[in-house]
């Protein structure tokens, strides 16, 4: 799992997440408090709240740094919201937890499979090849590469 990392020198720190996710941001929040930086915490516990997030993010000033910690399924939507609000990769950290569906690109037939994040080997649902799930990710395919698992 990706860990939240403190990035210094920001005008304001914004922490968004579900109660569960806040635990993952705890260390960074404590550090921000200790060093006396401006910050805000927004707890998102239902879909309604995450929909309102869009307006809230759009009102933020330049120099705001955003941390989001949500379950993988909810995280994707918030990532998109943040991007649409004009926040870049350099101004955000997204921490996901729980089950995640990954897309796996079969190295032999180019078929796309879905697998849960803890599965290391799967059978390609199109050509039947045993695939070992790698961390080689393609933005274009939105999938990771599945290699031949056994020779």
């Amino acid at each position: 799992m990706r860990k939240a990392i403190f990035v210094s020198g920001k005008r304001k720190y914004l922490f968004c997440g579900a109660q569960e996710g806040m635990k993952l941001l705890f260390a960074v929040i404590e550090r921000v408090k200790e060093e006396g930086h401006p910050y805000e915490i927004v707890v998102i516990d239902d879909i309604q709240e995450s929909l309102q997030l869009s307006d809230f993010l759009k009102k933020q000033k330049m120099g705001t740094y955003l941390y989001v910690a949500l379950s993988h399924t909810e995280l994707k939507r918030v990532e998109k919201t943040a991007e649409e609000a004009g926040l870049t990769e350099e101004e955000t950290q997204f921490i996901g937890y729980g089950e995640e569906l990954k897309r796996i690109f079969c190295c032999r037939c180019h078929g796309i499979n879905e697998a849960k994040n803890f599965e290391e080997e799967i059978l390609c649902n199109q050509c039947g090849l045993e695939l070992s799930v790698s961390d080689h990710y393609s933005v274009y395919h939105n999938a990771v590469l599945g290699y031949v698992a056994k020779l």
């Binding site: 180019h110 080689h136 590469l145």
Partner: protein
């Protein structure tokens, strides 16, 4: 058919007694993006068969690459006609061009810049006349993207998967590449490449077998040979695979043409040159595990070393 070069023409890749990943590019002495070798006819036949039967594996392009593809057509045809006037010719009358491949006895009349006058997309079309694989990288947002390519002879990677990918993501699977900061240094180097000043480098690996088309898509077939290497058969079965890679900046689109010419030589032939045998033995003995793993040598490295050692001791080399 053996896809093995002659010793005299083989682009032997090693210097010194150790090997590590590095940006080993050098400015080209003869600035031609292609080379025609005695294997031309056989390799063109193989390449065309692969392009016909496995188009998705061997050719990919994004729609915004057409201008760049035409630049590649121009560069490659100019170089063929200039360097090999007895084998190729090119006549230009305004936009009306006539390309003559005398080896394959093919003439093509077309209007430069008009795709409808060619049998294929421009990059696919010109790739059917050269032994090299042709990769087109486009530069934007401070990065390079693999936006089109023809790849028939890959060293175990997939063009279809890597399409549209950024430079650093393409090289993500190479162990140590990122940690040593090499990915960033090479990206910066490539982004500074200037038109008119092409560079080249050699890359190498070992393989069990002598297939040129070692695609990731067919690894389940050819990879099995790695388990069959013995000290006894290593000389014949194992080949050193060298890619001569050339880098050209394309001035109109500011993209980069990356050509890859793959050469294979059996260990037996390599070992017949005493200096190469000694040097390669030293390099392979010293190679760290993260490099042998990535180059796919781990399964049979010991067998190869035993074979090379035997050759050294057989008195050929003192």
């Amino acid at each position: 058919m053996k896809w093995t070069d002659n010793l005299e023409n083989f682009p032997y890749p090693f210097k010194g007694s150790t090997y590590r990943y590095s940006n080993n590019s050098v400015p080209m002495k003869k600035p031609f993006c292609i080379e025609v070798t005695p294997d031309y006819l056989e390799e063109m036949k193989l390449k065309r068969d692969l392009l016909t039967h496995h188009p998705e594996r061997c050719y990919q392009s994004l729609p915004h690459t057409l201008t760049g593809q035409w630049e590649i057509v121009e560069l490659v045809m100019d170089h063929l006609a200039e360097q090999y006037p007895n084998q190729f010719s090119l006549e230009k009358k305004g936009r009306q061009w006539r390309f003559h491949n005398k080896i394959l006895e093919e003439k093509h009349d077309f209007t430069f810049g008009d795709e409808t006058t060619l049998p294929d997309e421009p990059l696919a079309f010109i790739s059917k006349h050269v032994q090299e694989d042709l990769i087109f990288m486009m530069q934007r947002d401070g990065d390079l993207f693999l936006d089109a390519g023809q790849l028939c002879f890959p060293a175990n990677w997939s063009l279809a998967f890597n399409l549209g990918m950024k430079f650093k993501s393409i090289h993500h699977p190479i162990p140590g590449f990122k940690e040593e900061g090499l990915d960033d240094r090479i990206l910066q180097f490539l982004m500074r490449l200037e038109a008119g000043n092409p560079w080249e480098r050699k890359n190498w690996s070992l393989m069990a077998g002598d297939r040129l088309d070692t695609s990731l898509e067919t690894f389940d077939q050819w990879g099995k040979l790695r388990k069959q290497v013995t000290k006894k058969n290593a000389g014949e079965l194992v080949h050193i695979r060298v890619e001569v890679q050339k880098l050209f900046r394309l001035p109109r689109t500011n993209g980069i043409l990356f050509t890859i010419h793959t050469h294979l030589l059996s260990l037996e032939k390599l070992a017949s040159n005493p200096e190469w045998l000694k040097q390669f033995y030293e390099i392979l003995s010293e190679l760290p595990p993260h490099i042998t793993d990535y180059k796919g040598i781990s399964l049979y490295k010991n067998e190869v070393l035993e074979y090379l050692c035997e050759q050294l001791e057989s008195g050929k080399v003192l």
